[in-house]
């Protein structure tokens, strides 16, 4: 299972990086989204991959790692997802505004010199 998720993270990263290096703003925004999936999965995976061990306790008890997955990376990733959405939205708006100002959707605001 670890192998599958690792390869998945790798593919997401590769596709994201490839798009990050492209000249069009839309490509960059898609690339950043892909990369954020990869990073979120990676952070999540640092707590270990365990099935059927949701960190939800029985009322009135103290939980332990034997029964439950590590909740900390999950908490980190949860806020990361929301913030990631907010920054993606901001990036989109900035890119649209930049295109309005420069008339180009190149990341540098002007077409590259050939």
């Amino acid at each position: 299972m670890e192998l599958v998720v690792s390869i998945g993270i790798g593919v997401l990263t590769g596709a994201g990086i490839w798009l990050l290096l492209r000249p069009r703003t839309f490509q960059v925004i898609i690339g950043l989204s892909l990369l954020s999936y990869a990073v979120n999965l990676f952070i999540f995976s640092t707590g270990g991959l365990r099935s059927g061990a949701a960190p939800v306790l029985e009322p009135g008890t103290a939980g332990s790692l034997e029964q439950h997955a590590d909740p900390l990376p999950q908490a980190l990733v949860l806020t990361a997802i929301v913030i990631g959405f907010a920054t993606t939205a901001l990036l989109l708006v900035v890119l649209l505004a930049a295109r309005g100002l420069t008339g180009s959707d190149h990341v540098d605001g002007k077409e590259a010199d050939r």
Binding site: W18, L72, A75
Partner: protein, 998 residues
């Protein structure tokens, strides 16, 4: 103890006065002047009141805790040397304030001038009273700063700006060296307290770091006192108003350097290094300054170079390693302050009354302003060292020292008497030139103003100072004897030599040297007449060697050429290049770590591969690669594939026991997709090329390189993830949170308890970030101007309108009136259901997957569904969402919940919980964390909706600009009206101002 607090008043009063003066209206010249005078008089009164105690050898001391954790105290300490300097600072300060009141024009913002002047006075007092090395450095930098502000007071002139900039570059640069030196000195002595440092002279002199410390401290002192080769800033500083020149650049600021040399004399002096560096710097400065002064055509320039020369003399005396020379140095500091301040004021009066300071234009002023002329003559005579004036006394002490100083290397000392006489003769020459050219000769012809005597009050400070010169010159022992004695004793202690302060020592060699210098000076002046008549700028022989120009060149090189060169070599403005470099460095760092530490096998056996998840990830990988493939020409396809990759991520979260994450990811996926879809409207069309021309070789190479980078990053990341996952994860925090989530947090959903309770402060910060980001996006969209080719309505709508226009039987908009009728009815019916689900998710968040983030996203999806299927106009006629209010309320609610803990004497964001029995619903958890989560909910909802609606409105306002009735306009879709959409405000902004709830 009360006397100690007087020291605090001495430092604090000027700063207080500076603040008050700064608050006065710009025309309040008199009030500001009176305020400044009052502060100066108060300072003088304090100095007089503590003088008897100090004269008895007492050292007043005030210690206030400053940074006790670092062992630093705010220490004010007044001994003999400090009282001498504080006396000078406050007396001359008072006189300068009186003078400035009449000198400054009513048109200038005079209160600001007095504010700076008083602040400088406080800083200078702080320097001399500091009993702590760090504190001394601090006040030292403050003097540089206020000197900068005062030189640049007339900032509309280039000279003032350049002079100010040069002064602060040189003196603040020196100040930084001084600070480093102070740190080292404190390190050697083991304490930053001045008393301790002064007591550990032997240890410091024998320490291996002595030379670096000395060099650093001297860099600070010599730059401040304008010693060669750092002297060039002082003449440039003459662009300041003349009171500033009189106060800062002759009497006080430039004396800070020699003050420091005198202060640390017991610790640093006595070595050959000291003798050579300080002595040589002083000697060269004295000679060069005096030589250049002769050839200055600007009165203030002449005085500036003469100041440099006299400061050189003081430095030389301090560098001679002789106690008697040190006494002479302290004595000359006082004398120089008296005659140079009065000369500057006289030069200012001349400038003020005639309109020029150019020696070549001035002449015969003796007939127009006889009083001022007499005063200036006496002061200039004191500067030249004429007997019966104060300058003579210290100069004679200097001659005596030059003849008798016993020092390690006689080589320098052999030339010392000659150099002393030469410098003294030059001093006579320029003093003579000043007086002769300004006051004698024929009547002036081309002055801007008709000269006359200044107001009596403006002359009074000069009169007082000149009187002091005469009194000290005739009765030295009775006037300044005690003060000089206590100052010398505070520096030299037991080693204070016997010296005689009398005018007549008999027919001695020094007297003969004085006479030779006087006669020589007159002879030099007479022989230079022809050269000086020509009126050329700059001194002969070394005219081309101008330190100022070298400095300027250096600055231009450093701040412009070198910066440009480095930017050209290492900088790029292209995002792709920057990202590539960043990636390359990251790959290199990761690779290096693997090479250095070795990859090493993990300690956990990887679990077997589940075919279902494997298949899911095959799809996920295909989606990711497909999105990368399609993002250029098929944006919509790329967006759909991106969603696919997101869903696979979501499934992975569910698979591995992270239900909260899966829920959040799923909802965010929906919102992100809607958002990007809205953005697509404003991006340019991009068609796939015809394919006849293959891409250029360079482009292919670039793509291959990027592909290589991407593959390397992917492989690296996969390897890293695998390596991490096959190791036992660190569990310290996990164990802690799992154990305490219910027992202390009262919730069974540990992730949610972490978010709203254990790490509630982090969450508060994060929702604040979300709010800021949403507001920024909103603000950007309010001023959004689309690119010209995106202004027009989309192609499909144009087609629709053309069809409707062509058929008169069809009303406008009738074609799409029932567009998506069934889904829109369904979404309307679903709206309350979704809201209930959101409420459910919110309330159960503490115990089961859910919570404020998820609930907020759910409600925003409910809203955006209405917009999508009902249309903006339909929704906003029925439902007013006020995203800004939701966000504000959410933030207030969350912060308020945190603050509520203070009510119960608990730290910020401490939570409380209990379980309540409510009929029908049963046991309901009631935790203060739920209130916090409601705040999170409101904020996330508001922020998400704000961004979505604001972006959606950009598409609507284009429609509004099209006139609805004019059929002709519809027939021509690209009408001018449609090209002006930016006028319409987003309705969100208007909605935010109206009443009603969401």
């Amino acid at each position: 103890m009360s006397e100690s607090y007087l020291l605090l008043a001495l430092v604090g009063l000027p700063f207080l006065g500076a603040i008050v003066a700064g608050l006065l209206p710009a025309r309040a010249r008199d009030t500001a002047g009176q305020l400044g005078g009052a502060v100066a008089i108060a300072s003088i009164a304090i100095v007089v009141s503590v003088l008897p105690a100090v004269e008895e050898g007492e050292v007043l001391r005030l210690e206030l805790p400053w940074m006790p954790s670092l062992g630093l105290d705010f220490v004010l300490r007044m001994d003999g040397l400090a009282v001498l300097f504080v006396g000078m600072v406050s007396v001359i300060g008072g006189l300068v304030i009186l003078y400035a009141r009449y000198y400054m024009s009513a048109e200038d913002p005079v209160p600001r001038f007095f504010s700076f002047l008083l602040a400088f006075m406080g800083s200078m007092t702080g320097v001399v009273l500091s009993g702590n090395l760090i504190q001394l450095s601090f006040f030292w930098e403050l003097t540089s700063l206020f000197s900068f502000l005062l030189i640049g007071y007339w900032h509309h002139t280039t000279a003032a700006r350049d002079g100010a900039r040069m002064a602060i570059t040189v003196t603040a640069g020196g100040g930084l060296c001084l600070f480093a030196g102070m740190l080292l000195l404190g390190h050697i002595a083991g304490s930053f307290d001045l008393e301790v440092v002064l007591a550990s002279g032997d240890r410091i002199r024998s320490h291996p770091l002595y030379v670096p410390v000395l060099l650093l401290l001297l860099l600070g002192a010599l730059t401040k006192s304008a010693q060669f080769p750092f002297h060039f800033w002082l003449p440039q500083a003459m662009a300041a108003p003349t009171p500033v020149s009189a106060y800062l650049h002759s009497a006080t600021l430039v004396k800070a350097g020699v003050f420091l040399l005198a202060r640390l004399w017991p610790v640093l002096a006595g070595t050959e290094t000291w003798f050579w560096i300080v002595g040589t710097a002083g000697l060269v400065t004295m000679l060069v300054g005096a030589y250049v002064a002769i050839f200055q055509n600007d009165l203030k320039g002449l005085l500036a170079y003469s100041t440099i020369s006299h400061l050189g003399l003081i430095t030389l005396l301090l560098g001679l390693n002789s106690e008697l020379a040190t006494v002479a140095a302290i004595f000359h500091i006082m004398n120089h302050a008296a005659f140079k301040a009065s000369l500057f004021m006289a030069a200012g009066i001349i400038d003020h009354e005639t309109g020029t300071r150019d020696i070549r234009r001035l002449s015969g002023l003796n007939r127009f302003m006889p009083f001022t002329a007499r005063l200036a003559m006496v002061a200039a005579a004191a500067m030249a060292g004429v007997p019966l004036l104060n300058g003579f006394l210290s100069k004679e002490m200097f001659f005596a020292e030059a003849l008798s100083a016993a020092s390690p290397r006689p080589a320098l000392l052999d030339i010392l008497p000659v150099a002393a006489m030469v410098a003294s003769a030059f001093s006579v020459t320029y003093s003579l030139r000043f007086i002769h050219k300004a006051f004698f000769g024929p009547n002036p012809t081309d002055l801007p103003r008709t000269p006359h005597e200044p107001p009596g009050w403006m002359r009074l400070p000069v009169e007082i100072l000149v009187l002091a010169c005469i009194m000290i010159g005739i009765l030295p022992a009775a006037t300044v004897g005690p003060l000089l004695d206590v100052a010398a004793r505070s520096v030299l202690g037991e080693a204070t030599p016997v010296y005689s302060l009398t005018v007549w020592h008999g027919w001695t060699l020094p007297l003969l040297m004085s006479m030779i210098a006087l006669v020589g000076g007159v002879v030099i002046y007479l022989s230079l007449q022809r050269y000086l008549q020509r009126g050329v700028e700059g001194p002969p022989l070394i005219r081309r060697l101008e330190a100022r120009r070298i400095f300027d060149r250096t600055m231009v090189f450093l701040s412009w050429r070198l910066a440009r060169l480095l930017e050209g070599l290492f900088g790029t403005r292209r995002l792709q290049t920057q990202l590539r470099l960043l990636l390359f460095v990251a790959l290199l760092a990761g690779g290096l770590a693997v090479v250095l530490r070795g990859p090493g096998p993990g300690n956990l056996e990887p679990a077997g591969i589940d075919p279902v998840l494997g298949l899911v990830w095959v799809i996920g990988s295909a989606c990711a690669i497909g999105a990368a493939w399609m993002a250029k020409y098929h944006r919509l396809a790329a967006l759909i594939l991106l969603g696919g990759a997101g869903l696979v991520t979501c499934v992975t979260f569910v698979w591995f026991s992270a239900h909260d994450l899966a829920l959040t990811q799923l909802l965010v996926e929906v919102v992100t997709t809607v958002l990007l879809l809205l953005g697509l409207r404003w991006l340019p069309k991009r068609m796939v090329g015809t394919g006849t021309r293959s891409p250029e070789v360079l482009t292919v190479a670039r793509r291959l390189r990027d592909l290589g980078l991407a593959v390397a990053a992917g492989v690296g990341m996969a390897a890293l993830a695998f390596a991490v996952m096959t190791r036992t994860p660190p569990d310290l925090l996990a164990r802690h949170f799992l154990e305490l989530a219910y027992l202390e947090g009262g919730g069974t959903n540990v992730v949610n308890v972490i978010l709203v309770d254990f790490r509630g402060f982090d969450t508060l910060g994060e929702i604040t970030v979300v709010a800021v980001v949403a507001l920024t996006a909103f603000a950007l969209l309010r001023r959004f101007r689309p690119a010209p080719d995106s202004v027009d309505v989309p192609e499909q709508q144009r087609y629709l309108r053309a069809v409707e226009a062509a058929r008169p039987d069809r009303r406008e908009g009738i074609t799409v009136a029932d567009w998506l009728l069934v889904p829109s009815v369904v979404t309307r019916m679903l709206f309350p259901v979704i809201c209930i689900v959101a409420l459910f998710l919110l309330l159960r968040g503490h115990d089961m997957p859910g919570g404020g983030f998820v609930a907020g996203l759910t409600v925003s999806i409910a809203i955006i569904l209405q917009y999508m299927f009902g249309g903006t106009a339909w929704v906003e006629a029925r439902l007013q969402v006020h995203p800004l209010r939701w966000m504000g309320a959410g933030l207030l609610f969350a912060t308020g919940t945190g603050l509520g803990a203070w009510w119960f004497d608990r730290p910020f964001l401490t939570s409380w919980f209990s379980y309540l029995e409510i009929p029908v619903l049963g046991t309901v958890p009631a935790a203060s964390a739920l209130l916090f989560d409601i705040g999170v909910f409101a904020l996330v909802f508001g922020a998400t909706v704000l961004m979505l609606i604001a972006l959606a409105h950009q598409s609507v306002r284009g429609h509004r600009a099209v006139p609805r009735v004019a059929v002709a306009a519809r027939a021509q879709p690209s009408s001018p009206a449609a090209a002006q959409p930016a006028v319409a405000q987003p309705a969100v902004a208007q909605a935010a101002g109206q009443g009603g709830g969401g």
